[in-house]
């Protein structure tokens, strides 16, 4: 049984009409209802992206008439953040194709060696890997967020929590003096009360922050 997908949206940016027809044929072999868009110029591809929203995958020819190689690598870097990009290229451009992998392309295919199976497999891999990387990125950002909140708690311990504790230490030291007049002793005891109330409020605040972190345990993030 040949591998098949019910549907797939593909943007092909390819200036050679023959190469495009081949790609189209190969895709039709494995996708029952593909949504195919063909752009000859990079700017048209860009327009499709803006007008029709996300595609499942972009097949991108490396030599296009309206962009330089440097520009294209930069575009790949940006586009591959939200859509997987598979490069179509010929033997002469193989070094350049390798470079594109470093800037975010999922894979490159040599036009002379493509067949329907190779193309389909590459597209499928690109989509799956992209999905996996996306969930990984979300996971990392959830952990970063949690770290930020843990740092806040650490900061509170060091800068806020210690203030009333230091006060209590000094107050107790003064209260040890047995010759202290009654009125002054009462004043100091009032400060002891204020300081312990403050400590209580700070602890409540830390407990709430810690609880919020527990509620967003990264293990529970999809």
């Amino acid at each position: 049984m040949k591998p098949e997908l019910p549907e797939l949206s593909v943007l092909v940016i390819e200036d050679n009409a023959g190469d495009y027809l081949l790609v189209e044929d190969y895709l039709m072999e494995h996708v029952r209802a593909p949504r195919l868009r063909h752009a000859t110029y990079f700017k048209d591809g860009r327009a499709y992206l803006d007008a029709e929203g996300p595609f499942d995958v972009i097949l991108l020819d490396l030599s296009l008439p309206d962009v330089t190689r440097e520009q294209l690598l930069e575009e790949i870097r940006r586009i591959s953040l939200h859509t997987p990009v598979v490069i179509l290229t010929g033997y002469p451009d193989i070094d350049y194709a390798t470079k594109s992998l470093a800037t975010g392309a999922s894979d490159y295919l040599l036009k002379d060696t493509i067949n329907d199976i190779i193309l389909f497999k590459s597209v499928l891999y690109a989509i799956e890997r992209h999905r996996f990387l996306k969930s990984l990125r979300e996971h990392v950002s959830a952990i970063e967020d949690q770290n930020r909140r843990l740092r806040e708690i650490a900061w509170t311990q060091s800068h806020v929590f210690r203030a009333p504790v230091a006060r209590l230490m000094a107050l107790v030291d003064l209260l040890r003096d047995e010759s202290l007049p009654e009125a002054e002793r009462n004043e100091l005891l009032g400060y002891v009360r204020t300081s312990s109330d403050e400590i209580d409020a700070i602890i409540q605040n830390i407990v709430e922050k810690a609880q919020a972190i527990m509620d967003t345990d990264p293990d529970n993030i999809p």
């Binding site: 060091s158 800068h159 210690r162 006060r167 000094a170 030291d173």
Partner: protein, 129 residues
Amino acid sequence: MTTHLLIVDDDTILVFLLRKVIEKSGRFPVPSTHPNGSHALEHLRSIYNPADRYIILLDINMPVMNGWEFLSEIRAFAKPENTIVAIVTSSTDRADKEKAADDPYVLEFLTKPVMAEALIALKDRIDAR
């Protein structure tokens, strides 16, 4: 040479306690107290005289103007030779300590609660300069 003492801290209970300890130590003049850096800066600027000596007990975390801002503002007119700052903070943060060590005005980093012994040691160090 007249010595002036300034307490810069927004925690009123702590200022009260610090005044008690200063009194107990018997080694300092009566302090002026300031709830933030800006208040202390205005006071220092108005009384500053190169022939006098200023000891400043400075908290770090304060509203309006914090201790670091205060330290950068006094550079405009005060000399480190006669303006001596002791950071007095409840923070046990190592980064704060390292930052304080690099400042030309800061002689000491005191962690609250400041006891009489620590103040006496500070005064001895200042007098020995």
